[in-house]
Symmetry: C2
Subunit: 333 residues, 2 copies
């Protein structure tokens, strides 16, 4: 390249980066050769000298899930706009894989990490203790690192969801939640539910609590388990829309009408919430924007070269649609 233009590599670098004035004659020679050969500098060589890769590691538990797939799109858009690209990894809730990927991120010298941790284990702790890399945590309140995290107030949102059902006259309210170690969609959402019941003077009925990964089949199974009890709830708080949909499927398959026979409120406002019938009453969180904001926050850390602990609490919103109604207290409840 430099040879073809009859100049030094230095000069080539200068015209490409505009880092120092170059006479118009040489500049033109170089530019012509660039046009002709389609030359473009190697990003990896650049990366080596700058110790920057312009790559962001994005680690999430699953992509085939509206929440995460929209989040990815948000993150990608902001990354692209700032000259970054995304290295995507899927952890499938597997802690070992997570730590494994973390060290891949390190070896590849990624400029930053957006990380939806499933559970912050000692290995995670160790990694972040030994190694400094701009990070934003997603969906969980990770307090033990100097890095920001971004999430909605799951406790409050769940409190509101439950309260909403209570206000509709329901006193027997079950919950379909994530696994306990999943702080956000398991523990925190359960806490909100529990608190709302307690504040209303209602008891938590353990038979109406079902925990498992958020997927449609578990929603179905969970609802089945609960409907096989002697005493039945009149409303359910499903901690994700997929759970809600699975539950509704079970109920409809067994002759129950929603919301007349059972009120169900979901969580996420996934695309399917509106296309599903009945349309889901749900708690909306803007996953696209959360991905975008996480990326902004990360890039800020990277360019400013300093990280400050920030809690970014995103707003949520209860959206009333068709899957919930006033209690009618019928059946054998």
């Amino acid at each position: 390249m430099a040879q073809k233009a009859g100049v030094s590599v230095t000069t080539v670098s200068r015209v490409i980066n505009n880092s120092k004035p170059v006479s118009s004659e040489l500049r033109e020679r170089v530019e012509r050769v660039i046009k002709e050969t389609g030359f473009a500098p190697s990003e990896v060589a650049r990366g080596l000298v700058h110790r920057k890769t312009k790559l962001i590691g994005l680690m999430i538990p699953k992509v085939a899930n509206t929440f995460f797939s929209q989040l990815i799109e948000g993150a990608e858009q902001v990354a692209k706009a700032n000259g970054f690209n995304i290295l995507l990894t899927v952890s499938h809730m597997d802690m070992e894989k997570e730590v494994d990927y973390l060290s891949i991120f390190k070896d590849r010298q990624l400029d930053g990490i957006i990380f939806s941790v499933s559970q912050f284990t000692n290995l995670h702790r160790q990694f972040f203790n030994e190694f400094e890399i701009p990070t934003v945590f997603l969906g969980q309140q990770i307090k033990e690192t100097p890095y920001p995290y971004i999430l909605i107030d799951n406790f409050k949102a769940s409190y509101e969801a439950t309260k909403y059902l209570i206000n509709k006259g329901h006193e027997k309210i079950g919950i379909l939640k994530g696994p306990d170690y999943d702080i956000s969609t398991g523990y925190e959402r359960y806490r909100g539910y529990q608190q709302a019941l307690q504040d209303a003077g209602l008891a938590v009925h353990d038979d109406w609590v079902f925990s498992d990964f958020h997927d449609i089949n578990n929603g179905y199974r969970g609802m089945k388990t609960i409907m096989e009890q002697d005493e039945l709830p009149t409303a359910m708080f499903a901690c994700s829309d997929v759970m809600a949909v699975g539950a509704i499927n079970y109920l409809q398959d067994h002759g129950f009408r929603i919301p007349q026979d059972m009120s169900i409120i979901g969580f996420d406002d996934a695309e399917l919430s509106t296309m599903f019938r009945p349309k889901l009453t749900t708690i909306r969180q803007d996953s696209f924007e959360m991905g975008a904001e996480a990326m902004r926050c990360l890039i800020e850390q990277i360019v400013e070269k300093k990280t400050e602990k920030k809690e970014i609490i995103f707003p949520h919103q209860l959206i009333e649609r068709e899957s919930t109604a006033e209690t009618t207290n019928y059946l054998r409840r």
Copy 2:
């Protein structure tokens, strides 16, 4: 690192890569220091000397879409198993963005590309003419490059879907299709539909043909447009499940029953096909496995260092569920 162990960098490299025998004494010294410091060689420096990045560029039009999000998971899994990582980009069907990303892929010296092209333009052509990089095309029959492509037989699948409706007694069959320039989900699927009608001696009724991007709102809109005609179809072939769901939503919102008043067959077998009610009759394609296979095929190209033109035609499968029925010819049809 080398200093701390009192050896040369050469030796460090040798123990890490086992590339040449090292005396047990030095080996131990080096290994100890590695343990202590958590040293790991820089992948970017390695990339520079090997001219390999172990990175695969994956470009798709959208991630918040079951087909693609599952495909990503399949691809990621195979990549991971072979020591590759994925650089993910989202093109949003924007040709300029696509070409832009292609040159980013080139500059970053990615080892290969998995590419779901929206439309193969001259700029695409130019890129692949000027630059050699192992590639696998997804979802479209790109014949003009030496690289493999992987897809289902959209013509045949659509023929079968339409034939299925015809066999149910339907003679008035509409279609909700992708845009024309989208060869697979627009053009090819339309061709299959048309051919099936023709072979059955039925005419294509232009008023029952609706084209637009595959999303739920367009399904709704498309169905609306068609239902506002004087003469109405008794069955619809929706070229994607999201279109089908949108269409059904429209119909149900206006008092039609599925499948009694209108049969609808979808395409994709997205997760929502079974959780939606009525459960969607649809054409199934295994997107996870297509992603996985695309990645296998790409990695093969990369390690064997030769590419041969291959057509990988994935099987599809008509799955009969609840959204289709024998024609009943009622209403004013």
